[in-house]
Amino acid sequence: MKKKNKTLRMMIRNIPIYVMALPGLIYLFINNYMPLPGLVLAFKNYNARKGIWGSPWAGLSNFTYLFATSDAYVITRNTILYNLAFIVINTVLSIAVAIILSELKNKIKNFYQSVILLPHLISAVIISYIVFAFLSTESGFINNTMRRLFNAEPIAWYAEKKYWPFILVFVSAWKSVGYQCIIYLATLLGFDRSYYEAADLDGATVWQQIRLITLPLLRPTIIMLTMMAVGRIFYSDFGLFYQVPQNSGALFPVTNTIDTYVYRGLLEAGNISMSAAAGFYQSIVGFILVLGANLLVRKFDRDSALF
């Protein structure tokens, strides 16, 4: 009885905080929960005249196109491998940048922080043109520089698929490290400085401090962000894979992901049910992966698990 009262009191005391959370919750509800019944479209032959519920059932036939051909292997492989590479590389880089930034003086730190955040705020279409300015065959920066300096033959970047795994990983890091490192930086700055002072007194080197104090303290944040990324491992950054390679056909074997495949295949057909099926498939697999990853984390490190 007493305990219940305490909970109630806590809730009443926290009303202002609940109110603050309200807009976010409403947004979440409208944006993420209200469309959930629409998932049923993935199993229907949608007809506008009959409406969502009146349209005939289609069983699993809307899903078959995702697995119908040898492309299924390529797009799934591309999606997963790129995302794994992004998760690992972007996380390592973000942490490194966050640690470096945390060692800097305030004013200059703010400056650097803003500058590396900038790419995150640029739209993918504009990024694609920045990349094009470097890689254009006739007038690109790289080809022209190489020609002037080494008299090298120009490379048709948009027709040579072997370079693109590196280009995409590089662009992705350039675009997202600035944003991710802010989260790590915010966590870093919240650490109790006395750990570091004690370590200094004991004569620990900077490297030892990073390895033995910073990284272990960062672990919950790393695990949380990584798990969120794992949940989206079947999605791909559409702008990165569609706009940045300029939709060049020659690059499809290394740039086609589930999202671009669905987009290209359904762009003209405009089949709502099949797009819904693709989205359904991506979400379910992502959901399972998050649950699985969380299970693993809980097994090894109970405190860091999300739930």
Binding site: A48, T69, D71, A159, Q246, N247, S248, E268, A269
Partner: protein
């Protein structure tokens, strides 16, 4: 602050009362795209048009003008979610797609009762071509239905430079020349010698295939086509045809000789922009009466149109931008009356196509339309895709075109080679998995091959292997079966 709130509330109340006051007159909403989105003068034109429909039909008219860039998505969402759209154009959405998805309403009965003017205006053969399963769901507009394929548009200043006497070779229309491809090859070689730093040809990726090979892309895709559309209904694989191989070889040669930009695969400028910028000397396009003026307007260069292939009305040409009624409309009769008016009333048609006289356009002394005083392309408040409008033949001729352009257009349509499959549409929902895979293979290879960036024979073989692996055989069979069934109903052998 408080006063402001009260003022807003009052305003809302007044607004809601006025809308109640007009509620007894039904409203028809008409949706169509433009390249540039909602024009500044939309409200003004809408008010003028609505005044006409209110007076003549007792119907209010509203316009929903969308940017073509987002048109497809917005329309799909609006139609799927039951928003108030009564009349819409199927451009980009696909006519048969709109019918299969249940977006478009059957029109036969409405046409008979309220659309007499439309039936008298449009060529009955074209209305027949719009029938799907015995019903008409959409109506074509009065425009160039046929298309002249393979027109090399070359700027005259470069022709003069190589001393090519184009003036004496011009056709009766004074803007084009019929010639063989060999002559083009010859001209290109000379142009390249004369201006080695400029590209001879600025290709247009989207239309390249259609302008280099003569075929009918029945069902609106390239997977199974008619290679001899005027005489045979046999579906075959375009990419195994001799014509396709030859076209690719020609472009491969041209590409090797440096006629085409190495950036052509990723270039997002239009060919005309590149010509305007002085980067290139010619482009490949489709032609029709008035092509020269269009090209001149876009590239700013005087050009000659070299016609290397015939004029063709393909199976999907009639239905490619049909006017349709939303199947969920609650004012079907009124919507049909409005369409009927737009097909038959010169005043309404002109207003819709060109805006207000004296404000948006004026009539010159010799009877052409041109920009009103103080208005030009950069500051005009109202413009539309004139060819999209139901009946541009009623609206007068824009300055720079021949006076009889609409008669020329009709003759152009009538004289064209017509596909036997005219009006055939293909519901590919049963082979959608194959279609998705085929489209991805097509996109992977087509631009490299058709623009000559890869050695054609091996690349085409590779593409065909992948197409067959993606189910081309099954897709073509499904198409052939649908075509046979369609032909049997229409009584075509």
């Amino acid at each position: 602050m408080k006063n402001l709130v009260i003022a807003i509330l009052c305003l809302l109340m007044v607004l809601s009362m006025t809308s109640i006051a007009f509620a007894d007159m039904p409203t028809v909403v008409m949706a169509y795209p433009t390249w540039t989105g909602r024009p500044a003068g939309e409200d003004r034109i809408q008010a003028r048009l609505s005044a006409i429909t209110e007076e003549k039909l007792g119907v209010k008219l509203e316009m929903e003008i969308l940017d073509y860039g987002s048109w497809n998505q917005s329309m799909t969402l609006m139609l799927a979610s039951g928003e108030k759209i009564d009349i819409f154009n199927t451009l980009g959405l696909g006519y048969s797609n709109c019918v299969n998805k249940g977006y478009a309403l059957e029109l036969d009965e409405l046409l008979a009762n309220y659309g007499q003017g439309i039936l008298e205006t449009i060529n009955p053969a074209y209305i027949e071509a719009c029938r799907i399963d015995g019903q008409v769901f959409g109506l074509p507009q009065q425009r160039d239905i046929a298309q002249g394929k393979g027109a090399y548009v070359i700027a005259t200043k470069y022709l003069d430079e190589i001393g090519y006497d184009w003036k004496s070779k011009l056709d009766a229309d004074g803007e084009s020349i019929y010639c063989e491809l060999d002559e083009i090859k010859d001209i290109f070689a000379k142009l390249h010698d004369a201006e080695p730093s400029k590209f001879v040809l600025c290709p247009n990726k989207g239309t390249q295939l259609n302008n280099t090979v003569f075929f009918d892309d029945i069902g609106n895709d390239y997977f199974g086509v008619l290679m001899d559309p005027a005489n045979s209904l046999t579906v075959s694989n375009l990419f195994e045809s001799e014509d396709f191989l030859n076209a690719c070889k020609m472009f491969y040669d041209w590409n090797q000789m440096g006629y085409i930009s190495k950036d052509a695969l990723t270039d997002s400028n239009t060919p005309q922009q590149n010509m305007k910028a002085g980067l290139g000397m010619s482009t490949l396009a489709a032609y029709k009466p008035g092509t020269k003026m269009e090209q001149v307007a876009q590239s700013g260069l005087d050009v000659v149109v070299f016609k290397t292939m015939g004029v063709f009305t393909k199976s999907a040409a009639v239905t490619s931008m049909n006017w349709a009624l939303n199947s969920n409309t609650d004012v079907a009769e009124e919507a049909m009356k409005v369409l009927n008016l737009l097909y038959t009333d010169a005043e309404a048609a002109t207003l819709l196509a060109w805006g207000e006289e004296g404000v948006d356009y004026k009539v010159t002394d010799d009877g052409f339309l041109t920009y009103a005083d103080g208005i030009d392309a950069s500051n005009q408040q109202y413009s539309t895709l004139n060819f999209l409008m139901p009946n541009q033949y009623l609206t007068g001729v824009w300055e720079g075109n021949p006076k009889d352009i609409y008669e020329q257009t009709e003759k152009f349509n009538d004289d064209s080679v017509k596909s036997l499959a005219m009006g055939f549409t293909f519901d590919n929902s049963a082979v959608m998995a194959e279609y998705t895979a085929l489209t991805n293979v097509y996109n992977e290879y087509i631009n490299q091959i058709i623009l000559g960036f890869v050695e054609p024979e091996s690349a085409i073989a590779e593409m065909n292997n992948k197409l067959y692996a993606a189910g081309l055989e099954r897709y073509m069979n499904a198409k052939q079966d649908a075509l046979n069934a369609w032909a049997a109903v229409k009584g075509i052998k």
